[in-house]
């Protein structure tokens, strides 16, 4: 089966390519990138006026399976990913049971093989049950196919445990992804600690709860030589510290989510749990620092932290609601809205943040349109006005603050392994 994507603007940062070209897919791999490719019998996709990029990778997604299938499944989450322009996703291990052993890893991979419409790369837990007390079966999970370890949803509070985990991970060539939060400092907090938390009478999550953990982990990464990655960075000082670590040559990377550069705590609708997540939406100086970090290169990747929760759980007193919002289907629209249209970064940089950025952090053989590479292609546009209707989402859940938001530009078609996983109607 052949697909010929014609006349699109091909942006492939890995190949340092940015220009009008055709992309030929044959069977499941990229067969050619160039001008005026002719292929008899190929299915033609007219990409005039569109951007053609290597398949986007979202390295931080919660698929909720096994254990929380009422909120999302591997299948529904993968459909939401495809609808958002993603061809590969990495799923976090806070399932039930937690993905802390090869059996659960294999289960996820097998379910994904059968039901997912995009590539799914599991991330294994750092500690058993993510309880922070004993190391998980990292070695056998690596053999089963994990691409990183993380206790996401929680930090590893015990510094000695984190040190051992980093040493172990380094020897297995796995990056360690930390959800950086000092639970004592953030105790009971429901939103960013600042003027609005005081106004709303809600307990706050101070920025320093993220900063002290980022600082600790960077120092441990230096001692252990591990590849350390900060999940969903949101705080000014944390971004500064990551930049400083990089300047000193440490293997430290970080990601941020679209909502952390799109929204501040000024934007919260009062007591609306669609604005409740961890780390929280912080005040404007933090949002500006995150945006500046994207522009400067301190931030390596964009990842959505897609966290589905059913309506029954998100429709409660604010303090009772679980943390997390959807993100897969709005990521490209938000990136265009906040970074591209205002001219803050180039399209090439945006594509890097979704492709080579995550691919290099995880050591994935993805994120490029090299000949022979898996035929994962993301096609999007930068002009079409559209409105996000969360009620039409492919996800099983509906918890998004971007419902009814208008965007200019978004995903148009998503090809995974040479097959159209999603197309704009």
């Amino acid at each position: 089966m052949s697909i010929l994507i014609k006349n699109g603007r091909v942006i492939d940062p890995w190949a340092k390519l940015d220009g009008i070209a055709d992309v030929l897919i044959h069977d499941e791999v990229i067969a050619g990138v160039g001008l005026n490719i002719d292929e008899a019998g190929a299915q033609i996709f007219d990409a005039s006026g569109l951007i053609v990029a290597p398949g986007f990778i979202d390295m931080h997604v919660h698929l909720r399976e096994p254990g929380f299938e009422h909120a999302e499944t591997i299948e529904s989450g993968s459909r939401a990913a495809a609808a958002g322009g993603f061809t590969s996703i990495c799923c976090m291990p806070n399932t039930a049971p937690v993905n802390d052993n090869a059996t659960v890893t294999s289960y996820i991979i097998e379910r994904a093989r059968r039901y997912a419409v995009v590539n799914v790369f599991p991330i294994g837990a750092i500690t058993k049950g993510s309880m922070g007390e004993q190391l998980a079966a990292i070695g056998s999970m690596k053999q089963a196919g994990i691409v990183a370890i993380s206790d996401d949803g929680k930090p590893v509070m015990n510094a000695r445990m984190m040190r051992r985990a980093m040493e172990f991970a380094r020897s297995h060539r796995l990056p360690v992804i930390d959800h950086c939060e000092d639970l004592h400092l953030s105790a009971g907090g429901d939103m960013h600690e600042g003027l609005h938390s005081v106004r709303y009478g809600l307990r706050g999550i101070p920025a320093c709860s993220e900063d002290v953990m980022v600082a600790r982990d960077i120092l441990l990464a230096e001692v252990t030589g591990a590849k350390f990655h900060v999940a969903h960075i949101s705080s000014k000082h944390s971004v500064e510290m990551v930049a400083f670590a990089k300047a000193r040559g440490l293997a430290v990377t970080c990601e941020t989510t679209p909502h952390h550069f799109a929204l501040s705590d000024d934007d919260m609708a009062p007591y609306d749990s669609n604005y409740k997540m961890k780390p929280p939406l912080r005040s404007v100086p933090h949002v500006s620092a995150v945006t500046a970090g994207i522009v400067s290169g301190a931030i390596d990747a964009l990842a959505t932290d897609h966290a589905p929760h059913p309506g029954s759980e998100k429709m409660q007193e604010f303090e009772q609601c679980p943390f997390g919002i959807l993100g897969l289907e709005t990521a490209i629209g938000i990136a265009l809205d906040k970074l591209i249209h205002p001219g803050k970064i180039s399209l090439r940089r945006m594509v890097e943040l979704f492709t080579t950025g995550p691919a290099e952090i995880l050591g994935l053989n993805r994120g490029s349109l090299a000949i022979g590479a898996p035929a994962d292609v993301t096609i999007f546009d930068t002009d079409r006005q559209w409105t996000y209707d969360v009620n039409k989402s492919q996800s099983k859940s509906r918890n998004s603050p971007f419902h009814n938001q208008m965007f200019r530009g978004g995903p148009v078609a998503t090809i995974v392994g040479g097959v159209f996983a999603w197309k704009l109607e």
Binding site: A187, L195, Y200, Y271
Partner: protein, 304 residues
């Protein structure tokens, strides 16, 4: 969206002036135990209290009944909430009873706002978490105005666990809107700096003597032991540094008044001598509670 009373923060001054003025009409009624008005005859209000409270609940009940309305009180422990019914379901059930207003107290900040988004019934906030307690601020203002011409320019010291106090927040908004100068005083761990920015003319102090100097009103707050997550100040030191004693009153203006939303912890935040002194208007606050709540109920229920 029908108008209830969720907080002082969003209220305009004329609205509050109208309520305070009307409350004066209801003050004498306290002495006439057999006189009832029929202003709210045929109306039904539901008191929905998810948190322990005798004084506020009975205050609203009496206010409703004095106006001729029917009042039903539902306390959380007696209701389905203890069986695991969610907040939304509890209220859907109540809404089906079609009350004319729901008076609600809840331990979660924003709980009434959450319900107001989904229920057509006017909701009166009787205290939500650490967020607001609007009728308390109104009755406090009414009490001050019983002793003073106006709130303009008054120095009001509010002392205690400000961080966790909905009474403090509502009072800050109201007093600030009326041109008073508010000094918030408490231990540093219970006095977040952002409080200075929630309304104009607010200052902070950790020194009680400094806060009380020249004060027209001293408002003591109860130390909220049941709300604190962790011990934010050394145990046993509170009264020494933040408890109100007779010698403090010498620092305030000669005609200063002492207030407290109740219930008071004698010897913890206020000494018995001060609580029982001539300067204390604590009992007036309780009386004004009924008058102010009558004015609020009339305003909301007659507006429909």
């Amino acid at each position: 969206m029908p108008v209830g009373l969720l907080g002082i923060e969003g209220l305009e001054r004329p609205e509050m002036e109208a309520i305070l003025h009307r409350a004066k009409d209801f003050q004498p009624l306290q002495n006439q135990s057999f006189l009832r008005l029929d202003l709210l005859k045929g109306k039904m209000v539901v008191n929905l209290f998810f948190e322990a409270s005798t004084r506020t609940r009975t205050s609203f009940e009496i206010a409703a009944k004095r106006l001729g309305a029917d009042a039903i009180s539902i306390t959380a422990s007696a209701s389905s909430v203890s069986k695991g019914e969610s907040l939304v379901d509890t209220l859907n059930t109540l809404a089906a009873m079609r009350p004319d207003a729901i008076i609600m107290r809840h331990s979660a900040s924003g709980a009434p706002h959450f319900l107001a988004r989904y229920l057509p019934t006017p909701i009166i906030n009787a205290g939500d978490g650490t967020h607001e307690h609007p009728t308390q601020a109104l009755l406090d203002a009414r009490t001050i105005l019983d002793q003073r011409e106006s709130l303009e320019g008054l120095r009001v010291a509010i002392i205690g666990d400000i961080a966790h106090s909905r009474v403090a927040r509502s009072n800050v908004y109201l007093l600030s809107k009326f041109g008073a100068k508010v000094v918030l005083c408490g231990p540093a761990s219970l006095l977040p700096r952002e409080l200075e920015r929630i309304a104009p003319n607010v200052t902070l102090s950790n020194d009680m003597r400094e806060a009380i100097t020249g004060a027209d009103v001293i408002m003591m707050l109860r130390v909220q032991l049941e709300r604190q997550h962790e011990a934010a100040f050394p145990a046993g030191e509170y009264f020494q540094f933040y408890g109100l004693r007779p010698d403090h009153l010498l620092l305030a203006k000669p005609n200063a008044i002492v207030m407290h939303p109740g219930p008071i912890n004698r010897g913890r935040e206020i000494s018995s001598e001060v609580a029982d002194s001539q300067k204390s208007v604590i009992l007036n606050q309780v009386e004004n509670g009924i008058a102010v709540r009558m004015a609020v109920l009339e305003r909301i229920l007659c507006a429909q």
